[in-house]
């Protein structure tokens, strides 16, 4: 695992997940015969403490047995000397459990849909690999996998160049149209390719800005894979899960929003009020929220794309920017002031 891959080592918080861990750990331990706590933790990508706690519980568990008293022969047993002194696990007596459990319908479906999504990656993986994997997951499930599917999206053309540069650890150059509308030639050390549904991003060390930046792949043009190796000094850069980090010069904007639309704001969102501020807002079912934006222009686009759900309240120049943006767009059409004729629905998707 490199630092640039999201990890999953947080402890389980639900009893169902803890149970799954116990049911999956036992067959692994039986198969290994003897394994160190550290190796088991690395294999399952959990903390060593979780392994020790699970083993301690397994060692006192078993079946009621004929006496219904959970007597010694009806319980798991481990070599306590190895466990206490050498931090090694050896199961010396097993009960009831030998093999790994099947996938549930939903577990299999989650991985199958994930694989469908990954088929967009430019990895030159034979389609047969995916279908054989999906088939194995379906056969390994206790019921027919749930009907959940993700359509394959054809990734932007730049993706294969970006992938190539990342793979060969060389610098990448491209023309980039920033969200402020400026064009610049950028040179970067690629760190990681992120995707968000059908959108693709490159997280990279930007030589011009001397900082880590996130680039949308569909804003890159004239992409060139160079021969210059990456500097290699930012392997220790930890990339968070947030694609965009706030900056010191970010502006706070107050908006009124339909609560169901708050998720659409994603990483822009700074805070949402619990209670409506006045009777008008309460009547419309909306809440006040504050969002953090690097510049008004990005916000203008967002608000104009969902005028039914979001209204900018403050500052006044942000309201004015929305009016200007939408008015400029309306001048392109020959029907200013006309009644909206929307209302003939699309009959195919409800």
């Amino acid at each position: 695992m490199t630092p640039n891959t999201p990890r999953e080592s947080q402890p389980f918080s639900f009893a169902q997940d803890k149970l799954t861990f116990l049911l999956t750990l036992v067959p692994y331990l039986l198969d290994r015969g003897r394994v160190s706590v550290a190796d088991a933790a690395a294999h399952f990508q959990v903390g060593e403490k979780q392994i020790r706690e699970a083993v301690s519980l397994i060692a006192v568990s078993g079946v009621p047995g004929e006496t219904t008293q959970y007597q010694h022969g009806n319980l798991f047993d481990i070599s306590w000397d190895d466990f206490d002194e050498r931090d090694e696990i050896v199961i010396t007596h097993k009960v009831a459990l030998d093999d790994s459990p099947r996938f549930s319908a939903r577990e299999a479906a989650a991985l199958i849909a994930g694989l469908q999504y990954l088929q967009s990656l430019p990895e030159n993986i034979d389609g047969g690999v995916y279908s054989s994997l999906m088939d194995k997951l379906a056969r390994g499930a206790s019921e027919r996998p749930s009907q959940v599917a993700v359509a394959r999206t054809d990734a932007t053309e730049s993706l294969s160049e970006v992938r190539d540069a990342l793979d060969r650890r060389v610098q990448l150059e491209f023309d980039y149209l920033s969200s402020r509308g400026s064009h610049e030639r950028r040179r970067v050390d690629p760190l990681r390719i992120d995707s968000d549904d059908e959108n693709w991003y490159l997280r990279a060390w930007d030589h011009l800005r001397e900082a880590v930046r996130t680039f949308r792949l569909d804003r890159m043009t004239q992409v060139a894979v160079t021969d210059a190796p990456v500097s290699g000094t930012h392997d220790d850069v930890r990339l968070g899960d947030r694609l965009f980090q706030g900056g010191d010069d970010d502006q706070l904007v107050t908006i009124e929003i339909d609560p169901s639309a708050t998720t659409l704001l994603g990483e822009f969102l700074a805070s949402v009020d619990e209670e409506p501020t006045d009777a008008t807002a309460a009547a419309s079912g909306r809440v006040r929220a504050r969002i953090r934006v690097a510049h008004i222009h990005g916000l203008t686009r967002l608000v104009t794309s969902m005028p039914g759900a979001v209204t900018v309240i403050d500052p006044p120049e942000a309201r004015a920017a929305v009016v200007d943006w939408a008015t400029a767009a309306l001048t392109g059409y020959d029907r200013e002031g006309s009644e909206s004729r929307e209302g003939r629905p699309d009959h195919r998707v409800e």
């Binding site: 067959p27 093999d99 099947r102 929307e342």
Partner: protein, 349 residues
């Protein structure tokens, strides 16, 4: 270490569930409910030999559901000559249905792909399911090669309706929800048999049979305006690969609908719209763009403001103009926020 010593401390839930699974795997003929409650670790400590065990029985019912949700085939056997009697019903977990078939194994490169597939759900409603699936993979000793480092894929399930609809799908029950169809003044309650959840062009859709009309319909999750209620009515079984057919249908709608858009050179729109899947330019440099839903595309195109001018189809042009007008109306300084709210009811995300 005898279990008696630990009796004063409450038994953790996972210990009770683990003990239940072990007991039911170990029994060939099954155990009755009273045998389970009186002898299995975590229940027996709370069992009253001559008294009311109602709350313990409810606990057992919930535990059974929790265990079954993990893919454990907990089955019941009627006592011979006494069918349907709850007291003589026996419970067990058949080994063959529990264990992963022995011929299923995963190579290191396959495991790497599956790790990545699971990672894609790390924020979505299926993150716990994915993580449990990975535990099961690791249980059979699957090792990972790392050829796919450097990717952080993510499938979003932002719609609040996704979780309950997915529950309804796996439980096989009929659901109802308020749904706002574009052009309708208000949301209407729909009662449907859910068939599949599919993501197309980044949007989640539900394929379902609308009980009101008795016909299949495709719903956009973002247009479900209120809580999804699961009924206790079992869905009738409808054969077919619904996810695949729903995707194929959306794809053909997408193919058939084409928008014609004029883009201003050098703008965000000119760079991004042209590079969408299936986008092309006509002889006059105008962009031809496929779409599935005019209202959704209109939202996006309105956001591009003066960078685009939509030429057709007519319903798309109308929808874009309606959004732009709503944006102006809601933000004009001489107006009041109240007018913003009323102007906005026509157009929703």
């Amino acid at each position: 270490m005898s279990s008696e010593k630990r009796q004063p401390a409450p038994i953790p839930v996972e210990e009770r569930l683990f003990s239940l699974v072990l007991a039911l795997l170990a029994t060939e003929n099954g155990l009755t409910k009273s045998e389970i409650l009186s002898t299995v670790q975590g229940y027996r400590q709370r069992y009253a030999t001559r008294g009311d065990n109602a709350s313990l029985e409810r606990q057992f019912e919930r535990d059974k559901d929790d265990i079954r949700e993990l893919g454990v085939p907990l089955e019941t056997i009627d006592a011979p000559g006494d069918p349907g009697n709850n007291q003589t019903l026996r419970y067990r977990i058949p080994r063959a249905g529990y264990e992963l078939p022995a011929d299923i194994a995963f190579s290191p490169s396959e495991t790497a792909l599956l790790n990545l597939a699971a990672m894609a759900w790390r924020e979505g409603s299926l993150s716990r399911e994915s993580r449990r699936a990975l535990l099961k993979l690791r249980s059979i000793g699957a090792e990972t090669s790392d050829p796919l480092l450097g990717y952080a894929p993510r499938i979003r399930t932002r719609d609040a309706a996704f979780g309950p609809l997915n529950d309804a799908l796996s439980k096989g029950v009929i659901v109802s929800f308020p749904y706002l169809k574009p052009g309708d003044p208000t949301a209407r309650l729909r009662t449907v048999v859910p068939l599949a959840l599919v993501q197309h062009q980044g949007r989640w859709h539900l394929k379902a049979i609308d009980q009101g009309v008795g016909e299949p319909r495709t719903f956009l999750l973002s247009r479900i305006t209120g809580p999804v209620k699961l009924s206790r009515t079992a869905s009738p079984s409808v054969p077919g690969d619904h996810a695949a057919s729903a995707l194929a249908e959306l794809e053909s709608i997408w193919q058939a609908n084409v928008a014609l858009i004029e883009v201003r050179p050098g703008t965000d729109a000119s760079v991004r719209l042209v590079r969408r899947r299936g986008a092309s330019l006509d002889d006059d440099g105008r962009v031809l763009l496929h779409f599935t839903d005019a209202a959704l595309l209109a939202d996006e195109l309105a956001g591009f403001g003066p960078e685009v001018r939509v030429l057709g189809p007519e319903r798309l042009v109308d929808a874009v103009i309606a959004r732009l007008e709503a944006a102006v109306a809601a933000h004009r300084t001489d107006g009041h926020a109240a007018s913003a709210a009323s102007a906005s009811t026509e157009v929703r995300p």
